[in-house]
Amino acid sequence: MKHRLDVNGVSREIDVPRETSLLEALRDDLGLVAARYGCGRGQCGACFVLADGRAVASCLITVGQATVYRIVTVEGLASAGWDAVQRAFVEEDAMQCGYCTSGMLISATALLAQQPSPTDDEIRDALDPNLCRCGVQLRAIRAVRRAAEARG
């Protein structure tokens, strides 16, 4: 079944089974692998993407449902003007294995779009859906704060 997706500012057509998740389509049909499979139930945040600016679990929505949104993945963050968030995570070394980092970047971007200078509690709340087993939470909080300051 053919679908037209708006991903990272580009309109792209894919032909996939009806029930295909947005996550599977991004990773296997569009070559965008930054959103990662973690649980398939929207419980871990590893597959988060921006859908009209909101962080959503791409494992939970189908390609058909995704056609109505402007989707941004981590591959498109810089061109969408959010490179300060990426830089801040590098500068704070807010990662170990990096598997959950994409999801954190998406949650952080969605937060800063809504609230340009969040408090630490607001950052914790915004990133709470993102599970991180390596334990870089405090660094990620500092990174979001740094990104907010960098964006002024």
């Binding site: 089974p17 990773r27 170990q96 990096g98 709340d125 993102n130 599970l131 390596c134």
Partner: protein, 626 residues
């Protein structure tokens, strides 16, 4: 099979100058987020006097690197970091003399004063934040199929009959694979493979009951323990327990296998690329030299990738269908099929004399096999299932016995192996003795150790946390614990907690003084310490793998909560105190070891409740209050 030798390492296997002036470094260790690629690059760059970004580090690729037993025990910096440092020193001399980079790497090269670069903090970081990084499940090969495995209802059950008519007819299905006890599906798309495997009709033959017996292994057997205990004016006995927990990687196990008649290439998350290569060769019926294992990051797995489950399964699927296969386990499979950290019951009795010096100590550690071997080697047991079972204190009469018992669940390696359980029991008991003697637990510890480095971390963490003037009561408490980790890293920690009226424990600040010998990469050490503390606090307060008769009931994060952003401590203070003259000892595991006791001791200080069984849930705190 290539066996390790005691030959000195060779420079030409370790460092190569490229025509464009870059330097390639080779190590059999693997990266899974602990930062060794960055540390190795900085070590070599400093010795050779080149920028870090001119150094390429090849890790674990069995076709390119010298043999290595595996990446575990926090030994990468101590072992390969040191070899690379000496190799680079030799290389620098040979380059200056215009000679080729070859020869034995000497084992007695003094440490130079060259300062290591601070930047980049992590070599992989730029790729990770832009989506360029490639994890195992991101590998895409021509003609690649996706796999799914039919899982037995009970561990060890074997498929008797397989009805596959429905599955074969489903969209995208390329083959149903039956290879001895393995049944799986390969399909064009992941969702197709996952759906089709559910449509298989399989009759399973239940396995015979395991007939393993418990094995008791003495670790310390001083005479006179019972007499000395009986004569001790202060004497405390207590039993502590910890449940099975999951390694719970955020990325479930994955592998990509490309198996041809003449050889196989397997991309996998593995801590033992050479061990996995040998297992793959045996499974596939190929010579060892025809199998190449290329380790990629699977996500952090904290010991889980000592076992190559997904790689072996993917290789069997790929061999059977003749096309490359990506196999990625589901979340449910990772919980149910992945190995668990062993459960344990820990019986300690210890006594002190009138001056508060330990007089006798008897410890019986009941646990399951830690480590990837499956069966327990009694000679290794004191370093695996018995790791850190001996207290770091002066005890004139000491008896320590390790009892390794059969497990209903598959168990293997979790970060620090048994050190975390043993130190939870030891350091909780020390706190109980201090309370019985009405004295400060810091004083009791200092009185009972002469080791200057253990004393130094204890005194440092006390000073930084304001231990002597700590607030008491009001549902808020400070807890202290320490450890001399197996191979020589010293840690002392103070946890601050508050305990709500409903029994909920919340972390406040956390202090950690660590002496890992010479610090190679200060930011890397801090990141490992912080992460280990958060992770251990998670299993201390939240985690238990739910199981019944060996069947894991946990299927997702909803029934296996781990610490989230809101649960993280308010602040973590890491104080690095390694002496430049001491060899580096490693920090991947040690900082997570004393955390459970520090938190349990803080809970006691906050509300007078001693919780001896993990996790420290609100229910347990409320029950202990009554």
């Amino acid at each position: 099979m290539i066996t390790p030798t005691s030959e000195p390492p060779r420079l030409e296997e370790r460092i190569r100058l490229e025509p464009d002036g870059r330097v390639t470094v080779f190590s059999g260790k693997v990266e899974f987020g602990q930062g060794i690629r960055t540390a190795f690059a900085k070590i070599v760059a400093a010795e050779l006097g080149v920028p870090v970004d001119r150094v390429i580090v090849v890790l674990g690729d069995t076709a390119q690197v010298p043999f290595d037993r595996g990446t575990f025990g926090s030994r990468s910096i101590a072992q390969d970091g040191e070899i690379l440092r000496r190799a680079a020193t030799l290389a620098r001399r040979l380059i200056a003399e215009g000679r080729p980079l070859e020869g034995s790497i000497p084992d007695d090269v003094p440490v130079s004063a060259t300062r290591l670069a601070d930047e980049p903090r992590r070599m992989e970081a730029a790729d990770i934040v832009t989506g360029r990084a490639r994890f195992v499940a991101d590998v895409r090969l021509e003609q690649m199929l996706r796999g799914a495995i039919a899982r037995a209802p009970v561990r060890g059950a074997r498929p008797a009959t397989v009805g596959d008519r429905t599955a074969r007819a489903m969209a995208g299905v390329v083959a149903v694979v039956r290879d001895r006890d393995l049944v799986g599906v390969v399909a064009e798309r992941q969702a197709q493979a996952t759906t089709a495997v559910q449509a298989l009709e399989i009759d399973w033959t239940m396995p015979p009951a395991p007939d393993d017996d418990a094995v008791s292994i003495p670790i310390a057997e001083d005479a006179g323990v019972e007499t000395a205990l009986a004569e001790s004016p202060t004497r405390i006995a207590a039993t502590y327990a910890m449940p099975y927990i999951s390694n719970a990687p955020i990325g479930p196990s994955a592998a990509v296998a490309d198996v041809r008649a003449e050889g196989a290439t397997v991309y996998a998350g593995t801590q033992r690329p050479f061990g996995l290569r040998d297992e793959l060769a045996a499974t596939l019926g190929l010579p060892v030299g025809a199998v190449r294992v290329i380790p990629l990051m699977p996500s952090g797995t904290y010991g889980r990738n000592s076992l190559g489950d997904a790689a072996l399964e993917a290789a069997r699927l790929a061999k059977a269908c003749g096309r490359p296969v990506l196999l990625q386990w589901s979340r449910e499979e990772e919980f149910a099929q992945g190995p668990a950290r062993p459960a344990c019951v820990l019986d300690i009795e210890a006594g002190t004399d009138a001056d508060g010096r330990f007089s006798a100590w008897r410890y019986d550690e009941h646990t399951n096999a830690h480590g990837y071997g499956g069966s327990l080697d009694p000679r290794q047991a004191p370093f695996t299932s018995g790791r850190n079972a001996v207290p770091p204190y002066v005890v004139p009469h000491l008896a320590v016995t390790l009892h390794v018992e059969p497990s209903q669940l598959r168990t293997a390696s979790f970060r620090s192996l048994a050190a975390a359980e043993n130190v939870f029991a030891i350091e909780s008991l020390v706190d109980e003795i201090a309370d019985a003697r009405r004295e400060d637990p810091l004083d009791l510890r200092l009185r009972n150790t002469h080791d200057p480095r253990l004393r130094a971390v204890l005194e440092a963490v006390a000073e930084r946390s304001g231990w002597r003037d700590r607030p008491r009561g009001e549902s808020r408490g400070f807890g202290l614990a320490c450890s001399l980790y197996a191979h020589g890293t010293y840690i002392a920690q103070v946890a601050e907690v508050t305990v709500a009226s409903n029994g909920r424990v919340r972390l406040g600040r956390f202090w950690c003084a660590v002496d890992p010998g010479r610090v190679i990469d200060a930011n890397g050490v801090r990141n490992q310490c912080e992460g280990a503390i958060v992770q251990s606090a998670s299993w201390t307060l939240l985690e238990e793998l739910k199981q019944r008769d060996g069947h894991v009931a946990t299927t997702g994060w909803d029934t296996y909560p781990i610490a989230k952003f809101r649960d993280a401590p308010t602040d973590i203070d890491i104080y690095l105190m390694g002496a430049a003259g001491e060899p580096p000892t490693g920090v991947g595991e040690p900082p997570g070891v004393p955390v459970a006791a520090a938190i349990a001791n803080a809970v006691f200080a906050a509300c007078g409740v001693r919780v001896r069984e993990l996790p420290i849930t609100p229910d347990r705190v409320r029950a202990a209050r009554r």
